[in-house]
């Protein structure tokens, strides 16, 4: 079997889907969450974090390119898998799902599309947005990203609601994705009362909640 044929087989596609997803989770979501949480500790720490992050331009660009590749692979494979699955199932079937089938699993394509919409919006909100420059006490020219976050959320409950809603999509997506990717790699995730499923849900929803706290905090302070 050629590499191409292996990668485009049903299991191969799922491995690509799982791997690209895990790369985004490990190399982007976790550090991004860690960085964003610094917002809660005030302007000095948050602006300094953003400043130091941008000192590492080659790393940032490297990660950005890796994320772009991962999200492209992730979306292509997701579309291929979902379309093939739609074709393989007979829509007339009056099948009722059991309690085994989680809402998170059912919502994977929807939450995935929502996350994509969110990423576009989020990039427009913060990455491709004019930033004001300030000079720190050490004399460094840095962007006042703290003020930018405040400005985007204060007095705008609709914008806040958008962010929180889309973090719910992240919670759903991750809670299924983390455990499901392990099963795809061949690490047995049992059916009933699986600890792996529980940990996956806790990590997924915990991460979504942590991200959601930031705009909520920016809105209320």
């Amino acid at each position: 079997m050629s590499i191409k044929k292996t990668m485009l087989s049903s299991i191969g596609q799922k491995l690509l889907l799982a791997t690209s997803g895990l790369i985004m989770f490990l190399l982007f979501l976790i550090p991004h969450m860690g960085g964003n949480v610094l917002f809660l500790f005030g302007p000095d720490i948050f602006n300094s974090y953003a400043y130091h992050l941008h000192q590492l331009v080659p790393v940032v660009i490297g990660i950005e390119l890796l994320m772009l590749t991962s999200i492209t692979i992730h979306m292509i494979m997701a579309f291929r898998v979902v379309l093939a699955n739609r074709k393989a199932a007979d829509k007339r079937h009056t099948l009722k799902s059991s309690k085994e089938r989680s809402l998170a699993a059912k919502l994977m394509p929807v939450s995935g599309i929502m996350i994509f919409i969110f990423i576009v919006k989020h990039l427009l909100d913060f990455k491709f947005y004019e930033k004001t420059e300030i000079i720190s006490e050490h004399g460094d020219h840095m962007y006042n990203v703290y003020a930018m976050v405040l400005e985007r959320f204060q007095g705008d409950p609709v914008h806040l609601a958008f962010y929180v809603l889309f973090m719910v999509a992240v919670g759903f997506h991750l809670s299924h994705a983390l455990q499901s990717s392990l099963q795809t790699y061949g690490i047995y995730v049992p059916r009933d009362g699986s600890k792996i499923k529980l940990v996956s849900a806790i990590v997924g929803w915990g991460m979504a909640a942590t991200f959601a706290i930031i705009p909520i905090f920016a809105f209320i302070i």
Binding site: I11, A88, G186, V189, R191
Partner: protein, 252 residues
């Protein structure tokens, strides 16, 4: 004492190559000790007397081991009683006056042949891709020449319990045959006798499964709930491992 109940059946009627539809029939005076298939036999007797073509359904052993029978009953494969085939489902599980919807095991890879009978030969084609082992020719070897750990033998037997009824495919929201294929791959991968063809087998079986239009596994585990033989999703994890290993190591 067995009771008798009356049911209203909504049964899928279809001839090959034609559109199908649900027809409503009354099932009268059904003994609650009867099996589901015996109930259909009673209904078919009445339909025949009325000059209506009897409902076609597949059956053979009627003791839950052959894998012939199977329909989706009220939205559940084999009527969804844990580890029970349709032939072993008894009418005592139904209420008097209940509506019962009966339709074939639907999936794109399972085209309807007639009424409740679907073409599951796709599963046979997957088997043909590697459901065999190479054996030594000549005299039969001494039985204990190849030691096999008890746990391995039991795990292989658990996988080999699969009767190929196709409930996993029908219950899967993606029409995937991963549980079936994983059971077949596992049963050989767990035993030393299956090792000469191990890598080629998993690749060929997965390749055939994809080619026949079965869906992809999204790890929703509906298959394992539906399986009348209790085949576990542990086998799907093993299939994934076998596939990864075979893809990384074998040349062909």
């Amino acid at each position: 004492m067995a009771k008798q109940i009356n049911l209203t059946l909504k049964v899928w009627r279809q001839n090959r190559g034609q559109e199908g539809k649900f027809e409503t029939y009354e099932a009268k005076n059904i003994d609650t000790d009867a099996s589901f298939l015996e109930m259909l036999d009673v209904v078919n007797d009445e339909l025949t007397l009325k000059g209506i073509e009897p409902i076609a359904f597949e059956h053979d052993c009627r003791e839950g081991i052959c894998g012939c029978c199977g329909s989706t009953v009220n939205g559940k494969t084999h009527g969804s009683h844990e580890r029970t085939t349709l032939c072993q489902l008894h009418m005592r599980h139904f209420e008097d006056g209940q509506n019962v919807v009966i339709e074939p095991f639907r999936a794109t890879a399972f085209p309807v042949i007639k009424d409740l009978i679907v073409d599951r030969s796709g599963l046979d084609q997957i088997i043909a891709e590697g459901g065999y082992v190479s054996v030594k020719t000549g005299n039969a070897p001494e039985a204990s020449t190849t030691p096999i750990k008890k746990e391995m033998a039991e795990a292989a037997m658990d996988a080999a319990e699969c009767i190929g009824c196709g409930a996993c495919v029908a219950a899967c929201p993606n029409g995937s045959a991963m549980l079936f294929t994983s059971a077949k791959v596992s049963q050989y991968a767990l035993l030393p006798q299956g090792h000469p063809e191990r890598a080629q087998r998993v690749k060929n079986m997965v390749g055939k499964m994809d080619e026949l239009g079965f869906g992809n596994c999204s790890n929703e585990y509906e298959c394992a709930v539906a399986c009348p033989k209790g085949i576990d999703v542990k086998n799907i994890a093993r299939l994934n491992r076998e596939f990864i290993k075979a893809s990384l190591t074998s040349e062909k």
